[in-house]
């Protein structure tokens, strides 16, 4: 990765948290093979917030799933903290959040958050204590004993984030986690998410459709182009580490957003021309 204007030469020497080398993925469908990912090479630094953005069909969700070892790549190597993605998954490096909260109706809010810990065989008292801690982090202490269906969409998604963070994974993989929420809730959740990110220092890989969301949240934005899914541009977002609602209306933010938007538009134009 090249040095960026924000990192004043400090982070460049650290080993990447996630490293992809020549990763390709071909799906075989009834209408022939589909190249979802083509020769992706990417380093993600520890503690960075990386957004994957691009038109539909650019393979951003597939890329996220390849990193998370939910899909095997057809070619190439994925390393997470120096191990294979499969080893990282087995070592419980990943917390995952999807577009739908995917909470289990048969568990209370707290027991949903406890699920990963239960899978890992953590004892009941420790589980409960950690889940309560997470509830506090996502500000849902009063809803400990509620059923998921009794919560609003935004609250459910916060529970899903708490669940993903409950075992302090080193990598948080998020697939359009705010995509199903309305605009107001979404902006609110973005602030919450930033707070959580800054509090935990987790490496985040974040799939989104929204230019403003990517700009506001990320340290890095990866713009992808479709058919086959490729990395079109790797942008560093030049904004202060601490961001709030003021940031959203700052000149600097508008400049960065315009940068991402321009990059995305050139990708869109190109794919239209190619078609």
């Amino acid at each position: 990765m090249t040095t960026s204007p924000t990192d004043t030469g400090v982070a460049t020497t650290t080993a990447p948290a996630i490293s992809l080398r020549g990763v390709s993925k071909v799906f075989s469908t009834s209408s022939g093979p589909v190249h979802a990912l083509d020769d992706i090479t990417l380093d993600i630094e520890p503690g960075s917030f990386v957004s994957l953005i691009g038109p539909s069909g650019c393979g951003k969700s597939t890329l996220l799933r390849v990193i998370g070892d939910l899909i095997d790549p057809s070619e190439g190597v994925v390393e997470v903290h120096g191990r294979s993605a499969a080893a990282a998954r087995k070592a419980r490096d990943y917390g995952m959040v999807f577009q739908q909260a995917g909470l289990m109706d048969w568990r209370t809010v707290r027991r949903n958050i406890e699920l990963p810990l239960q899978v890992q065989g953590v004892g009941r008292d420790e589980r409960r204590a950690k889940a309560r801690q997470m509830l506090k982090l996502v500000k849902l202490e009063q809803f400990e004993h509620h059923r998921p269906r009794q919560l609003s969409g935004g609250m459910q998604q916060r529970v899903a984030i708490a669940r993903a963070l409950s075992f302090q994974p080193r990598v948080l993989l998020m697939d359009e986690p705010l995509g199903a929420l309305d605009e107001m809730t979404r902006e609110h959740m973005q602030r919450e998410l930033l707070g959580i990110y800054q509090a935990t220092g987790t490496t985040v890989v974040f799939v989104t459709h929204s230019v403003s969301e990517a700009t506001f949240l990320s340290t890095d934005v990866i713009v992808m182009s479709p058919r086959p899914g490729r990395i079109a541009e790797h942008l560093k977002i030049d904004l202060p580490a601490y961001r709030n609602d003021e940031t959203r209306i700052s000149e600097q933010y508008f400049a960065e957003e315009a940068k991402v938007r321009a990059s995305l538009h050139s990708v869109l134009d190109e794919s239209r021309r190619a078609a």
């Binding site: 469908t29 589909v34 979802a36 539909s56 069909g57 799933r65 899909i71 739908q100 058919r227």
Partner: protein, 311 residues
């Protein structure tokens, strides 16, 4: 690979698996006919092996559970469990010493009587059921009072009324097959009513709003939106009704003294069990297969109708 035609380009559907089936576990492909055949044959062979194996076990241990002194739950003698080939063989042999007709042809004849009664009953019961469902749908006040009773009526054993219905029909001086048909009809009536009503009420609210915005009449809404959307649940009701109608016909035959039908044939085979146990098994086998075929006719009609719809 890239199939570009004059009329336009064909782009493969989004390659992004939204909720990607992990590790190639991508829903099962429609099991091929071959798989059905293989598994059906496998199950039949397994059942046959179990039957004959049980008999062998019984013969080997003298009717005791291995390593114990307890008798097997079912005697393995040829009287209790005739060999499968004896049962199959009996189907080809004459039905009784008084006739040259084979048992199979006799049983099929009796079965056709039963299935005819069941079919009449199904037709009558489901016709009334659909009408009642539409009536309940259009008169919500009545529906609120009647619907819970319909639901309750599904939990009570309506077959218990069979002997009473036989008396009623006999009292009216009608032939006894009418009683059998009526029993069959009222057993098939309930699942059709309940399922059709559920289907009529499951119409897409957007379609209903559209019809309202077009100022469509109730009849138009019923025929263009509600009835089409009720078809799938009507069929699931019909399938349940078909099963019930066969049971109804058999039970009706037991209660009514028709002297005809597979229910009667089973009863008389049970009566003369000691002189030819294989006949009872043959009769039950034929009745079961006939019931399966009868219901599958509805299922096939359902798949034909619903397939045309999705195309």
């Amino acid at each position: 690979m890239s199939t570009t035609t004059l009329s336009g380009r064909r782009i493969p559907a989004s390659a992004e698996p939204v909720s990607a089936p992990p590790r190639g576990r991508r829903g099962w492909p429609r099991p091929a006919a071959l798989q059905y055949l293989a598994i059906s044959v496998g199950l039949i062979v397994a059942a046959a092996a179990l039957w004959e194996g049980y008999k062998l076990l019984g013969a080997a241990t003298g009717g005791k559970i291995p390593f114990t002194d307890l008798p097997l739950p079912i005697a393995s003698s040829d009287l209790a469990m005739p060999h499968l080939w004896t049962i199959i063989g009996a189907l080809g042999a004459p039905a009784s010493s008084a006739t040259s007709e084979s048992l199979l042809s006799y049983l099929l004849g009796e079965t056709s009587v039963t299935l005819r009664e069941a079919a009449y009953g199904l037709l009558l019961g489901s016709g009334l059921g659909v009408l009642l469902a539409i009536g309940l749908r259009e008169l919500p006040m009545v529906s609120r009072g009647v619907m819970p009773w319909l639901v309750v009526s599904q939990t009570i054993p309506l077959v218990a009324l069979a002997p009473i219905i036989v008396i009623w029909v006999g009292g009216l001086g009608l032939p006894s097959w009418v009683a059998v048909t009526i029993i069959s009809a009222y057993l098939s009536f309930f699942p059709v009513t309940v399922n059709t009503l559920r289907g009529l009420n499951s119409a897409d609210p957007i379609h209903l709003e559209l019809m309202r915005s077009l100022n469509a009449s109730r009849l138009q809404t019923l025929t263009t939106v509600r009835i089409p959307s009720a078809i799938p649940s009507l069929f699931s009701g019909l399938r349940l009704a078909a099963i019930a109608s066969v049971i109804g016909a058999i039970v009706g035959e037991l209660s009514a003294g028709t002297g005809l039908g597979i229910g009667r044939a089973i009863l008389s085979a049970a009566y003369f069990y000691s002189t030819g146990p294989e006949k009872l098994f043959a009769a039950v086998l034929v009745a079961s297969l006939a019931g399966v075929v009868f219901v599958q006719i509805i299922a096939i009609a359902e798949s034909l109708v619903l397939r045309r719809r999705t195309q």
